[in-house]
Symmetry: C2
Subunit: 258 residues, 2 copies
Amino acid sequence: MKVLIVYAHPEPRSLNGALRNFAVDRLQSAGHEVIVSDLYAMGWKAVVDSADFLNHETGQPLKVEAASKRAYEAEAQSADIAAEQRKLFWADVLILQFPMWWFSMPAILKGWVDRVYAYGLAYGVGEHSDRRWGDRYGEGTFKGKRAMLIVTTGGWASHYSERGVNGRMEDLLFPINHGVLYYPGFDVLPPYVLYRTGKYDDARHRQTLAELGERLDTLATTAPIPYRMQNGGDYEIPSMELKEALSAGRQGLDIHLA
Amino acid sequence: MKVLIVYAHPEPRSLNGALRNFAVDRLQSAGHEVIVSDLYAMGWKAVVDSADFLNHETGQPLKVEAASKRAYEAEAQSADIAAEQRKLFWADVLILQFPMWWFSMPAILKGWVDRVYAYGLAYGVGEHSDRRWGDRYGEGTFKGKRAMLIVTTGGWASHYSERGVNGRMEDLLFPINHGVLYYPGFDVLPPYVLYRTGKYDDARHRQTLAELGERLDTLATTAPIPYRMQNGGDYEIPSMELKEALSAGRQGLDIHLA
């Protein structure tokens, strides 16, 4: 398989750097092709602005959605954006690796999503009718590809558990797993999350490599998170509310699991 | 009151720009002092790196948490970070205004959080014992101050409703409201969210200004989201799991509401 790792950590001599290197070696040893987008090393520009859209008319108001659509259609995006999009088309599997900062991605990775996910590529795809509401959530450009997060955090696992004070990790990651990955069509594998990185030793590192290695070995076969397809009959159109009979009486984001 | 608006939109001639100007006028007319951090206009650097920490030794590995702690303690942070922190100390109310991009903040605003929220200021505050687990979630540096989001999105309200396909807006914003604002001590007011900005006309704009104006007029009195205090007896220490008897049988992030 072809694996794209988008990696967002400022220090290569870090635990994240070690895990990234391990992942690349492990995947290559298994015969996979790997490309790493090392955002810090690339000096990735994090901020959407008019320079992203080469056909944006100077002095005109920047309407991001419209500008993105025009630039994507005309192949007039800045070169760094187009290069990342080519990697996405190339890849069978997308891995986003990052330390959790303030319960989400570091800004540099959010800026990769904001800029690379063009209108016509990741959103604004497909037809709207009484039976479909665009190609998103289980359909879309990246349908057939898989994606997975590798996340590190200093917090304890129990603080992120079902009733942990930080909020459940699955819920904190929902905007990314469901909103960034499932939206444009990826099958999203359960994330690999490493907790309490401040208390880390050789024994834990061996365990981490064993667990992460297992996850990398099974990228092709691990069952994805069973998010409900938007256009599969579970949601009313166009209100896009889950039909009454489904997940009845339940609360929380898990209602969107089939 | 003193109000800090941190504003993240690339185009001043936009709906967000109009709402920002409206908010400033409305607050000033009511006698409040207002400072706007217009992140795009400031050319805000979104990405944490070693340049943020003036006392970081060149060539040494960058450990972000430790570097942030050392720089904050020694007053050796880059000037742009220190300036934003002074504004936070000055303010009685913090407003974050942004268009929702990919179910979260634009990268430039995430980078404001990542960089301004230093160790010793926003996290790593307070003592850990069998009765307390640091000053966070209802306690901390910003206790006594209030915060509120102003968010715009192209999506329909029903798509973000209790059972909407995007996930419920309250849950999507939990990493920000609870994780970014409540964590260092802010009382967090319900967000003002404007939906379906692609279908917008004068009538809707009048309604928006009336609603937003009302929210701005009542910043001091609106009841905050009733998140549970971490050290108030509702969570086990140190596992930080919600005690069994509380929100029993319920699922989802609302278990963290008192």
